[in-house]
Symmetry: C2
Subunit: 413 residues, 2 copies
Amino acid sequence: MGLHVLKFGGTSVGSLKRMEHVADILIERAKKHQVVAVLSAMSGETDALLQSARHFTHQPSERELDVLLCTGEQKSVALMSICLQSRLQKAVSFLGSQIPIRTDIDHTRARIEEISDTKIRKALEGGSIVLIPGFQGVSDDGDLTTLGRGGSDTSAVAVAAALKADLCEIFTDIEGVYTTDPNVEPLAKKLSKITYDEMLELASLGAKVLQTRSVEFAKKYNMPIHVRSTFKLVPGTWVVEKVDPMEALVVSGITYTKNEAKVVVESMPDRIGLAAELFSLLGEAGVVVDVIVQNVSKDGTTDISFTVPRDDLSKAMEVVESHRNSLKQERCKGDPHISKVSVIGNGMRSHSGVAAKMFKVLADAGISIQMISTSEIKISCVIDEQKSKEAVKVLHKAFELDKIEPKEVNDFA
Amino acid sequence: MGLHVLKFGGTSVGSLKRMEHVADILIERAKKHQVVAVLSAMSGETDALLQSARHFTHQPSERELDVLLCTGEQKSVALMSICLQSRLQKAVSFLGSQIPIRTDIDHTRARIEEISDTKIRKALEGGSIVLIPGFQGVSDDGDLTTLGRGGSDTSAVAVAAALKADLCEIFTDIEGVYTTDPNVEPLAKKLSKITYDEMLELASLGAKVLQTRSVEFAKKYNMPIHVRSTFKLVPGTWVVEKVDPMEALVVSGITYTKNEAKVVVESMPDRIGLAAELFSLLGEAGVVVDVIVQNVSKDGTTDISFTVPRDDLSKAMEVVESHRNSLKQERCKGDPHISKVSVIGNGMRSHSGVAAKMFKVLADAGISIQMISTSEIKISCVIDEQKSKEAVKVLHKAFELDKIEPKEVNDFA
């Protein structure tokens, strides 16, 4: 008998009927294992609560917002507990403040500091399925806190780590992690396994499968995550520390971003501290910068290009223009029509030539690269937005992601 | 500067717009006094939550039901806090588990054992309005508990007692306590003052203004209650320990019941223990008996009449009939068409003749009295249901309740 932590998102518990389906899954699992279920608020609930708060003000107090939002997940666990008990399955709910799940006091984006396992273990040993509301915790002062959007994933992984569970399964409305967006490339394949590092790159690049922080947690505690569908009970994608080299892929996924923009600040007199000054100014204005590229010319001037969220483009341009006195740029150009296409793969650590292949594939397709950024397991190219989907398709084919065979996966369930 | 506890019911906070009106009241009060507000769930919320639970089972676990129901009041206090803060009024919410409001573990009908005033006082001294969800508490084990329907009234009075507040105001959708049901007698007058004992008799007789337990609490701690309207800010009714004899009324109110029935068990051979046996049998069957009258005839037989909720009439009849062997009654008759009309008044303690007057007034109106029951401050007559409204009217007139003048009331507000 193992200990399994199962997390169900808002869509999975989005109606009383769907809750009954989740109850089926939990009861089936509880026949062989101890089960902890972490639940989100019913879909739509959190948004409705936020809308009520915003009726009064667009900047509600974060402490009180947390008190308000915590009701959503609390409803879910109470109802699921009642549902399970109606089927004669022992079940008990514990709120974040009851366990307790201790966090810092940073309301609406708190970080988990400690989770006590006493109450949970006692209930598990008594044969109960334990239901825990995701997303919420409690500060040292006893104030309710929440972990930010998608925080229920983090709750689940953190609870699994605290209990030294055998695994953490994230039930959601997709079947797993794909080599790329199936809406763009119908030949996209579901990955059987992927490493934490790859998942982190995928998540931060816009594949909204798992909250980034939950993957960091899983990596820190080496907790295997299984991302799978609530509605189609087939194996999903395992997110793990290492993938056996024999089955590892050089490239695991291709992503592209929407809603990014590029700023090019041209011909500034180069000097020490110039870049620091520019990005400090942008930071103070609250503009989050992603890719940065700097070129220095022989004439002693420099161009700096960077990408920002599209909504922040005009703000970024204003910041630059309003400091012409110190930056002394010749021009500042903005381009709202760009996209960042990335190739991600743990195999890049040991395989050379991936970058060269990516650039060649794009060139052969007539797609011009505007900026390049790389990490150990990722290569990103900023290109014309209109070409982004085509870029995904040609890269997906060139790295033979359409030829992945479904692998036998060690499904603990 | 005093300390005022203000409680608002579900209708008073039934919409975001109404919450804004309540915020106005609280902010106005906070200019002169320290303010604690106890809030109910928005109207309809508790019923909706119950309905969700009943989707799964008609007997949901009471522990989990409490977890579910507590979300309603939690939402109210968080939203009100956000609303007050949006108007630059300092405010903070504390849940029952945070204060804590300690109760026993009797889920869905818990009783308050202790309320800590530390957090509340600190917040009040810091200039905040303190918002407390009504209806909820926490057990020694840290489980959430609720106090039963109408429990928010009890929360408010108990919090007021714990804080040694100057007063407790119950804001509701009626203007106060009336001499009788204004729907029956348009000449009914709002009472300026009434004693705890009178209020208890009124409440238990069907005037659904305050939860009975809240009045018992107020009596125990001698906490003045002011029942008043949220929507029309005029003085309501004070419920207090004593009313000055100069302004005391002999009779304060007339009530009548709906949905009661009468059972008459005729001609049982009289013997010691007969009544005890009959009412034990009824009690075991779960039938709650109200008025009981016994007559013993010269021939050694006895008749016992009693009233029960109308829904229990056939069950009560069955119990009697199925024990004919021991009770040996000649007949058992049921009458579903009765009503209990009562005259209540603290002044009866010192004024004789109230009962005689009541009987005469009913007789003069041609209304026959079937049963009589009295307490120190109440006289009840069971009569034909069809005559109940007429009885209320003639009694209201005879005791000159239509002539009460509105009194100047020492309104602390």
